[in-house]
């Protein structure tokens, strides 16, 4: 090409100075072939013992969830602990919690993609899968928590002979659209990204069944330039489409509360604070999943300590935002001068559910501050434990918002109490069963790392890198 011809023969790419050198995203100079083999081996290898050890309890819990759902539908919402005045309990807590977890995936795949954060590539596939499964867990609750499940379709704008439409002023209505859109787009985005990798799996497949199955889902991908060009465009478009959804879903979920006039719910800070919290808990969950996985599947060279370090920093940042929001809530409650607002927040801190507030505040605000220190960000065991704590903390955040606001509101005569029942607990555990069942199936049958994308960010793929192809101005 003419451009190439313009490069002087003696031009040489200088290696950047050491202090500007970024840590590589694939360690040990692993080459492209190794990457394909490594990721594919998780699928092609023998099923490891730990997979069954995880799968069997997950399936049991999944079954328990099914049983609880049948039980709840056949008996009524009363099998849960929901009471009067606390009409929402674990159902909505768990819904918001799972939806929150479902945020990291799309954030990683869409926003980080648009921001050209290359480190996203080795974690985006698993995070997106996590997102989809988390939203599936979340979706169970709003569908099931209503009193008459068989009329759920009333929530959709389906033309009917009575000409009754849904109430478009209701945040629950917005939820229906927000969550279903988010889920649809997330699935599309995830699947889009999967096509080249499924083609890889197809090409490597040794059995007919595999060839057939991967063949169907890889849509005849050949890796031609035209395919790649269309693929990249579509990926960019979907990333653009997903980005506002990352912000909108949890904003709208937060409006379930913010639009009401309950002290403790009725606050304008909720949308940003919920989004930050969602990202916070999402990254917590990504860490919880990937730290053991990278060891078990021997992916340490792909999901490197640098990745983990970066994710810890995201947790630190979003945790601090959440902490700011908590403190600002308290300040505003005081500053409002409204005795009802003030009481609601004092009651959170020191009322009968004070332990809920502690479980929210410590794990979400204080504990993530440890990530200021490099030692905490580099100690896998500590990070794993902290990521669990973050998830617990975020669960309690929803508990505090929902239960403590409802249990004591305006008229003291109707103050009450909430505690979950065995059905609540088993059903929540059951959603873990569903989540892990799906996740284990995912990692066993679908490349859990975006092979093509990781290849593109290896030093070897970088024409400007010393290890890369563009040596001595030559062509690769």
């Amino acid at each position: 090409m003419s451009d190439a011809a313009a490069i002087p023969a003696n031009f040489k790419v200088q290696a950047p100075p050491v202090e500007l050198e970024r840590e590589v995203l694939v360690n040990k100079g692993r080459d492209i072939g190794w990457l394909s083999d490594r990721v594919a081996s998780v699928i092609e290898g023998k099923t490891p013992w730990w997979w069954w050890a995880m799968m069997i309890p997950s399936l049991l819990l999944y079954g328990a969830m099914g049983a609880m759902i049948v039980y709840q539908i056949s008996v009524g919402v009363g099998v849960w602990g929901n009471s009067h005045p606390v009409m929402w309990g674990w159902d909505i807590i768990n819904f918001v919690w799972w939806i929150g977890i479902g945020h990291a995936g799309t954030l990683i795949s869409a926003i980080l993609f648009l921001l050209r954060q290359k480190w996203r590539t080795s974690i985006n596939r698993a995070s997106e899968a996590m997102t989809i499964f988390a939203v599936m867990c979340a979706g169970i609750y709003p569908a099931l928590h209503v009193g008459r499940i068989w009329y759920d379709w009333y929530l959709f704008p389906i033309p009917n002979s009575n000409a009754i439409w849904p109430q478009f002023r209701s945040p629950l209505m917005w939820d229906v659209f927000a969550v279903s859109t988010y889920f649809t787009v997330s699935v599309l985005f995830w699947f889009m990204g999967l096509i080249p990798d499924l083609a890889v799996m197809r090409d490597r497949a040794k059995t007919k069944l595999r060839k057939f199955a991967y063949g169907i889902f890889s849509f005849g991908w050949t890796g031609s330039n035209r395919h790649w060009s269309n693929y990249e465009k579509a990926y960019l478009l979907l990333a653009g489409l997903s980005t506002p959804l990352v912000l909108s879903v949890h904003s709208i979920v937060s409006l379930d509360f913010a639009v009401s006039q309950l002290p403790g719910w009725h606050t304008t800070i909720f949308p940003p604070y919920f989004v930050a919290g969602a990202v916070f808990s999402g990254f917590g969950m990504v860490l919880t999943l990937l730290i053991p996985l990278r060891t078990l599947c021997k992916l340490e060279d792909i999901i490197t300590m640098r990745h983990i370090d970066l994710m810890c920093k995201v947790i630190l940042a979003t945790g601090s935002i959440v902490g700011y929001a908590y403190i600002m809530e308290l300040f505003i409650a005081w500053y409002s001068g409204s005795p009802f607002e003030r009481y609601a927040f004092l009651n959170r801190i020191s009322g009968p559910y004070y332990w809920g507030y502690l479980w929210m505040f410590l794990p979400n605000v204080i504990i993530p501050q440890l990530f200021w220190f490099k030692w905490f960000r580099s100690n896998l065991k500590v990070i794993f434990i902290l990521s669990l704590i973050v998830n617990i903390g975020m669960w309690f955040e929803r508990f505090v918002i929902i239960v403590t606001s409802l249990h004591r509101d305006f008229l003291p005569a109707n103050w009450g109490w909430y505690s979950p029942t065995w059905v609540d607990i088993l059903m929540y555990l059951g959603t873990f069963g569903q989540f892990f069942t799906l996740f284990l199936l995912f990692m066993r049958f679908i490349p859990m790392i975006a092979i093509c994308e990781v290849k593109a960010i290896t030093p070897q793929a970088d024409p400007h890198h010393p290890l890369g192809g563009a040596k001595d101005g030559g062509h690769h």
Partner: protein
């Protein structure tokens, strides 16, 4: 069964209407049109018949026949018309009959609504002079007893069922056999009754069988009122209190607002003088001396808590203070002084109270409670006489001498073997006779026992006869109300189980020629009135006999009073080691007769808010001294209080994790021990233990259970002896290590300084008539520019589209509740439950906070922990104009109608429950578990049976459901009865649906339709004021609720809302409730030692908000502030 509407043929005579111009002109075209089946051209083939065309038309016809016309077939059900139409009957239109609910020695006149022959609702009869139609909770709930599945349904001999006729013949035979011995050995045990027919029959039997003996027993007996009056005045009289005329009232342990006879009528009188229309009105003042915190104490302006035994010396002190000022009472004073000196009380309280009563003069009234000894009653009567109140606030009516024999005498006679045949008419002596009588054993000594009972309960006769008693709505009877007016007890339905009445049993034993209750009552009426058939019909129609009220008699004090008082024995003051037990009638179950009534079991006690159980009540001090119970004296706010610098006292027993698992304590008294959960009520007298009667019935039925096979509550009768019927000294209370779950509907008892119930003393009200609106929180500021234009309310950014309807619609519904009048009696709760098919949920579900009642009676304590004030507030759907529930419902199931009602479309509701979460008043109720279809046993969590695996009556639940989905889990016999009690105008909600107060929309619509029919072609479709009464309003004995069209400025409710006391709860949320409240005014006496400048709740509020004047206005208008400090008139201008 379907009824076909009659065809409307054109009248043969009168005006003929033409349908079109053609018809008028009778043109040939019109003739042809009439004759031809189809218009010209439609029925013929215009083109020549072709196969193609024929097939085309045929196929089109087949298609149409298949698609559309099948629906035009007539229904295949067999339609049977009435062969004989009942007179005055229109299908689907309810009928109303006058009747009466007989009580002990009195009656509540009723109008009962029947739908297709089944009574579905009782209401007070407002036609009777002096009554506005209020009732009490018992009368309201008595309807449910009719449909009680556990009613006695058979005649038995020695426990085995016999034919009805055999049993009735046995009664005749008994009478005939007894005639030979003149009734020797025959004893009757009666309950109190005011029935003239019964008196007549007793008299008749007594002449025929002079040897027969008559006894009477009521576990809670109001006879003492008559006894005392007769003693004081030397002739057989009974008092009839005119509380409406009383300005100063002293209650000596007399719970005339709750547990006394005819409380509904007394409340009506009492509240008449509480409802101030303007700040210039005067009101009555109530002093109460009592041990328990009763409803009367809650409504008192000054309340002295003292041991029940101490009421006697306190009464004496007051009597001395008053009588020593009057001449002619020196002997009485002399007799009283030693009694007075034995009591301990705040002397200033006594003297000032006495002074006030004397100042009240003939407008004063002193009442003594049934549980107090005779001497207290004597003093009350003497004082009323001395104050000149006789003829003003109390009338004395002639009284028929009732049966004298007591149950103690009967027991002695039984034990002596003198009773060959014992006839028990009603009553449940095995359960509630004094423990010292050993009744069950004594009864067994009778030769034959014949019992007429409503249930096969504790007193079921295993050896002898048991006859099922007919419900009062199934049988003829008569009664007299408190003022002696004769009222009919008219049946609306044939006895469901062939039960018989007391009258019939007596008539048969007495060998009367007429044994049919109708004939008996008719005959009594003839004897009383002369017997004109028209008069009888009018009597039944009106529900009372005009002019039959007793004429009051003039009375003079008998001379023996001083002597009668002298012997009064004062019990020693109770102490920690010798506590005093007070046995009291239950606000829910009466003396236990309503134990199997779910509506009443679930109606919370107005003071403790406990349902489904009775509790052992003590004061906080006593609990602390005895080291029992848990009382969170510190505060409910915990750290919050510390942070905000407020010290608040939680004046309720502390709930652990929101639920009451109270310590079980043992009370030993009279050598017997009862065990039950402790309950601490601030304001109880120290060293007093209150035991509520009526609970712990093992054989009451399947409703009266707190768990499977465990009766609800404990039985306090086991510790009650003949000598200590109401007050028992020398009791001990010890704690145990057990706990017992209690279901209370209110966890938190204080208002936290919020302006929810707004109260003022009369003095402040006079000074600051708009105090209620001044307690509003942060009214939205109005800009000065707008203010100049006369705008008083901050305009909304978004106009409420519903506001447009305020001008267009004919009606705008609204309600006002006068907190000055509301006494907290809970009659409205039961009325609502009955009218609106509100299900009961059982104890376990109440503990989970899932009770379904559409009205709550919120109860708040305020002020001093040891002697707090109580304030009540009925809380129901506020029908907000800007309802927060509506805009959060995703499916539009709750919406506003043009007349301002917040309506629920149950069919549309999916049950997201968001509406409840966003309701600031939390008045919405969610049907969590199909409460209408599941029996109580199946409502005990957390393991509920699922229809997928369960069997009912040996049949798989799903297959039952497939066959008949509506009956659910209930056994057929229960379901068949229960569904009869439902109001057909109100849908029975299924599970998963939110429900709430509808302002009785079915009544509103009924009245609107009736008015439209009446209006015919005029525009006069506005329902006249007073036509619609909501169920709660109708039942309210205090007339504390006004409901109507707020668009009409002359309607009662508009007038109430225009009063200066009117305010809305949580005004600052700008929900604009259609239900507003009139602030409560207390009338405290400044001279009293317990005078509080502000009522307790107001004081709590003031602690947070400086003063009535300053608050709320400082933010937006500094110049307003000065105005408020000036005169009343100017203040009013400033605020409105």
């Amino acid at each position: 069964m379907k009824t076909i509407p009659p065809t409307h043929t054109e009248p043969k005579s009168g005006q003929q209407y033409w349908r079109s111009m053609d018809q008028l002109q009778d043109t040939p075209e019109f003739r042809q049109w009439l004759e031809r089946e189809f218009p010209e051209g439609a029925s013929e083939f215009v083109d020549p018949v072709s196969r193609r065309n024929f097939v085309k038309i045929m196929s089109a016809s087949f298609l149409l026949a298949g698609v559309g016309l099948t629906g035009c077939r007539r229904p295949e059900e067999h339609i049977l018309p009435f062969s004989k139409m009942p007179e005055d009957y229109t299908h689907g239109v309810s009928q109303f009959y006058a009747s009466a609910y007989p009580t002990r020695g009195s009656a509540i006149p009723l109008v009962v609504r029947a739908h297709e022959g089944r009574p579905v609702k009782v209401e007070g009869n407002s036609q009777i002079p002096g009554s506005k139609g209020g009732t009490d909770q018992f009368a309201q709930a008595s309807l449910l007893n009719l449909y009680d599945v556990d009613r006695a349904q058979r005649f038995t001999k020695d426990g085995a069922g016999v034919d009805r006729n055999v049993a009735l013949d046995a009664l005749n035979k008994l009478g005939a056999d007894m005639a030979a011995t003149k009734g020797a050995g025959l004893s009757f045990l009666l309950e109190r009754s005011s029935s003239p027919s019964r008196s007549r029959l007793i008299k008749a039997i007594s002449t025929k069988l002079p040897q027969a003996k008559w006894y009477i027993y009521e576990p809670v007996d109001f006879y003492i009122h008559r006894q005392a009056a007769s003693t004081v005045f030397g002739k057989s009289v009974r008092p009839d209190y005119q509380l409406g005329a009383a300005k100063r009232i002293l209650s000596l342990d007399c719970d005339f607002i709750g547990n006394e006879q005819d409380a509904y009528a007394l409340i009506h009188g009492f509240t008449k003088n509480r409802k101030t229309k303007t700040a210039h009105d005067d009101m009555n003042r109530l002093y109460a001396v009592e041990a328990l915190y009763s409803l009367t104490g809650a409504n008192a302006d000054h309340r002295m808590r003292t041991a029940a035994s101490n009421v006697l010396p306190i009464a004496a002190k007051i009597a001395v203070a008053i009588l020593s000022q009057k001449s002619g009472y020196s002997a009485v004073v002399q007799a009283l002084e030693p009694i007075a000196s034995q009591g301990k009380a705040d002397d200033k309280w006594i003297t000032e109270c006495a002074k006030d009563l004397v100042a009240g003069g003939k407008e004063s009234l002193i009442l003594a409670g049934y549980q107090q000894p005779l001497e207290v009653h004597l003093m009350a009567h003497v004082l009323n006489a001395a104050l000149g109140a006789v003829g003003t606030t109390v009338n004395y009516l002639p009284a028929v001498e009732p049966v004298k024999g007591t149950i103690q005498e009967l027991a002695a006679s039984l034990n002596a073997g003198d009773v060959s045949t014992l006839v028990i008419l009603g009553g449940n002596p095995v359960y509630n006779a004094p423990a010292d009588l050993g009744w069950a054993a004594a009864q067994a000594k009778a030769g034959t026992v014949i019992r007429l009972g409503y249930t096969e309960d504790e007193s079921f006769v295993k050896k002898g006869w048991h006859l099922p008693l007919a419900h009062y709505l199934e049988s003829w009877g008569d009664a007299r109300t408190s003022d002696g007016t004769l009222v009919p007890v008219q049946p609306l339905i044939q006895p469901l189980f062939g039960g018989v009445t007391e009258l019939e049993v007596l008539a048969r034993i007495g060998g009367q020629s007429k044994t049919n209750p109708y004939d008996i009552v008719r005959e009594t009426f003839s004897a009383l009135d002369g017997g004109d058939e028209n008069a009888w019909r009018k009597f039944l129609h009106d529900g009372y006999l005009a002019g039959s009220s007793a004429k009051s008699v003039t009375v003079t004090l008998s001379t023996g009073i001083a002597a009668a008082l002298k012997g009064a024995k004062v019990l020693p003051a109770p102490s920690q080691n010798a506590l005093e037990v007070v046995f009291h009638r239950s606000y829910s179950l009466d003396d236990g007769r309503f134990a199997n009534n779910g509506w009443l079991q679930e109606t919370p006690n107005p003071i403790t808010k406990v349902t489904w159980d009775n509790v052992i009540i003590v004061s906080p001090e006593t609990a602390k001294a005895l080291g029992v119970g848990r009382f969170n004296e510190n505060n409910a706010l915990g750290l919050a209080g510390w942070v905000s610098g407020e010290k608040e006292i939680s004046q309720t027993p502390s709930a652990s994790h929101g639920r009451f698992d109270n310590q079980v304590v043992e009370v030993s008294v009279n050598g017997k021990t009862v065990k039950g959960p402790i309950w601490i009520v601030p304001g109880m007298a120290d060293n007093v233990v209150a035991l509520e009667l009526g609970y712990g019935r093992p054989d009451a039925g399947r409703i009266a259970k707190s768990q499977k096979d465990t009766p609800a509550g404990f039985n306090a009768y086991v510790a009650r002896t003949s000598s200590t019927l109401y007050i028992a000294p020398g009791a001990k209370l010890t704690g145990t290590t057990e706990t017992y779950p209690v279901a209370s509907t209110q966890e938190h008892g204080v208002m936290e300084g919020r302006s929810i119930i707004r109260e003022a003393n009369l003095d402040q009200y006079k000074k600051q008539p708009d105090f209620a609106t001044l307690m509003n929180l942060h009214p939205a500021p109005v800009s000065p520019a707008l203010k100049e234009k006369g705008v008083t309310e901050a305009p909304s950014l978004y106009a409420n589209p519903l506001d447009a309807w305020k001008d267009k619609a004919v009606h705008q519904w609204g309600m006002a509740i006068d907190l000055s009048a509301c006494v907290g009696c809970t009659a409205c709760l039961v009325a609502c439950q009955s009218e609106n098919n509100v299900p009961i949920v059982g104890k376990d579900q109440v503990r989970r906070g899932r009770e379904m009642s559409w009205i709550r009676m919120d109860r708040y304590f305020a002020g001093d922990l040891l002697n707090p004030q109580i304030a009540f507030q009925p809380m129901l759907c506020q029908h907000c104009e800007a309802a927060p529930c509506e805009n959060v419902c995703p499916v539009n199931a709750t919406a506003h109608d043009e007349e301002g009602l917040n309506v629920m479309a149950y069919n549309r509701c999916v049950g997201t429950r968001y509406c409840s979460n966003n309701c600031p008043y939390k008045v919405r109720r969610f049907n969590y578990l199909d409460y209408n279809k599941r029996p109580l046993n199946d409502l005990v969590g957390p393991h509920y049976r699922t229809p997928l695996t369960a069997t009912v009556n040996g049949e798989w639940a799903m297959s039952r459901w497939w066959k008949s989905p509506e009956r659910g889990w209930r056994e057929d016999e229960e379901w068949e009865l229960l569904k009869l009690a439902k109001n057909p105008d109100v849908s029975v909600r299924m599970r998963g649906v939110m429900e709430k107060c509808s302002f009785c929309v079915q009544r509103i619509e009924g009245a609107k339709i009736a008015q439209k029919v009446k209006a015919r072609d005029t525009d006069n479709v506005a329902v006249p004021d007073g036509t619609i009464k909501t169920a709660c309003q109708q039942a309210c004995p205090a007339d504390a609720i006004a409901f109507g069209n707020i668009k009409d400025p002359n309607s009662e409710v508009s007038k109430w809302k225009a009063m200066d006391r009117d305010y809305s709860v949580l005004d600052f949320l700008l929900t604009k409730p259609r239900t507003t409240y009139l602030a409560r005014i207390r009338n405290q006496n400044k001279a009293m030692p317990d005078y509080q400048e502000f009522p307790g709740t107001s004081q709590e509020w003031l602690n947070k908000h400086n003063s009535f004047e300053a608050h709320g206005h400082e933010e937006h208008a500094g110049h307003d502030h000065a105005e408020h400090a000036t005169t009343t008139e100017e203040t009013k201008k400033g605020a409105h």
